[in-house]
Each structure stands twice: as C-alpha cells, then as structure tokens.
Amino acid sequence: MAAWGKSNRQSADEAKERLKLVLIHDRTDLSQEELSIMKNELLAVISRHVEIDPDAVRISMKQEGREQKLTADIPLKTSQRRRIG
C-alpha cells in the first residue's frame, strides 16, 4: 500500500499536528463545530461595521507557550476601493 511507503517517515509529524489541534480544543473546550460557528458570527459582526472580503479571511487558533490565542486576519475593503453606484 502506498500509505506505508513515504508516510512512515512522517508518522511523528502527523502525531504532532494532530496533537496541536487536540490540545487546543481540549484546553479551550471548543469543538471544531463551535469554533466554526464562532468564526461566522465574528465575520457577521465585523461586516456590519466595515466591508470585508470573506474569502480572504483567515481565523485560526494558535498555541503560544501555555496560552491559546485566536488570531484573525481580516482584510478590509477601504472606501476608495469600493465601486461607486
């Protein structure tokens, strides 16, 4: 099976990536689904105040030492770039 060829070298990497996600969710007690809902609500609130490009939005959870951080990268559409009329 192809899976055993290259992936053997990366099972530790896979473990690490999985653990990163698992630990964040364990620590914050937020499931993937709840996080998704929260992101959508965030975007809705921000959209009420400024125009954003939803496709360019990046919201993620990161670990910094023992702390968890929610990082949002939300490009805003400035008024000069809005189309008139």
Binding site: Q10, L23, D26, Q63
Partner: protein, 267 residues
Amino acid sequence: MAASVVTITSGKGGVGKTTTTANLAVALAEEGQKVVCIDGDIGLRNLDVVLGLENRIVYDLVDVVENRCRIRQAMIRDKRLEELYLIPAAQTRDKSAVSPSDMIRVCDELRSEVDWILIDSPAGIERGFRNTIAPADMILVITNPEVSAVRDADRIIGLVEAEEKGPVKLIINRVNPGLTKRGDMLTPDDVVELLAIELIGIIPDDENVVISTNRGQPVALDPKSRSGQAFKNIAKRIKGETVPFMAIDEKGDFLSKMAGLFKQGGD
C-alpha cells in the same frame, strides 16, 4: 533542613511514575540526601514492589492518617542506602481514605526530618491526584513520547496551573532512539513544544527497568544502565545542578554526557 516535597504525576497510567519515584529516591539517597518516598496510590500500591520492600510493610499511610501508628513506625528503611525510607500505601482501602489536608499534615511532620519527600501520584485526575499535589513544592509530570500520554500530561499541567501549584517540570520517559530517528516517534523537542513547560529529564526505554522491577532492585543502583544514568541526572537537576541531556548519536544509540541534539539546555 526543611525538606522539599516533590510530587511525581502524569495523568496517564503506566508511563513511569512509580519507576521514576523509586529511582529518583535512590539516586538522591546515593548522593547523601535524606529521602522519604510516599506511595499515594491507595488501593493499587506499587512503590513497595518496585523498591523491593514489599515484605517489610507493617504500617502504611492510612494507618498514619487514622492515627493507628506514629509516622516513624510506617517508615520502612531501605537497608541498601544510608537514608532512604518508604511510607507504603494501603492496599485494602481506596483514595477516599486520605484527604489533601491529611497529606499536607503528614508532609509537614516530615519536613524537618529529611531533605526530600517524594510522592508517587496515582493515575487520573480525581482524589488521589489531588491528594498528592496538595503538599507539593515541585511537581514533575511524566509523559511518554506518544499521543495519549502527551494529551493526558497536558490536562494534568492545566489542572496544576488552575490550582496555582508549581513549578511544574517535564520528564519524557521511554524514548526509543531508533523510532525517533526514523521519524516514527515524537522527539523530545516536539513534546516540549506541545506542552510548553520546562524539561528536566529524558529517560531512554530500557529493558533493564523490567529486570530491575522483577528483582526489586531499582536501575539507579546499576551503574551500567542508561536509564539509571538518566535518573541520576534528573536527581542532580532537582538539586539545582546543571547536567547536559543525553543525546542520540547517528547510530540511534544514546551517548551519555553529551549535549548535542536536544536544545533544551534549561538546567
């Protein structure tokens, strides 16, 4: 001579708490320290067998807590070393027999008599765990470089932080150099990055540990064993000395006394 109370815990069972408690106790005693270790795993005691002292139990921790004996009567003296004592757990009771304040009281009584009190925590996050962290001045979290152990260790660290107890330091046990080199085992750096606490020891997986438990002769007594050397290094670091971590060489074996691969020189 006020003792430091060190609790050894993990969350997950079977990662090496009892083995570590026994061997750190031996290593510290070999350095001339006066050590009492306490088995906090009421109902599932094992520190006695790992130390090879199971035939000398007369009184146990619950007898002390329930005032059926004086604390000195429950202290089994290890005849192999100058000043190493064990207070065993009770086997026919459970964790509810002891409370966190009981543990604090017992440790307070011992503090002026010894240099170190090492407490072997049971697995889990319930009463037994809470009992053993209550009196702690320092907490050592043991993990293995694998997914379940690391996850449980993280939970334990979170609980310890929530109780505002600390400092918490990490021991990574059962490191397999071959698997690590092949990319099929989390490296100590990976584990430290995920758990984000200070590393105090790395212990290689060692067949000698099984043999030593079979005989009731902790590996730290064997100058030829790699894991024994690792336990001795941790004992020195607990005392505040700087000791380089053992490194993996190209062939995948451990070399002793070389810093090399692991960047955590935070001794």
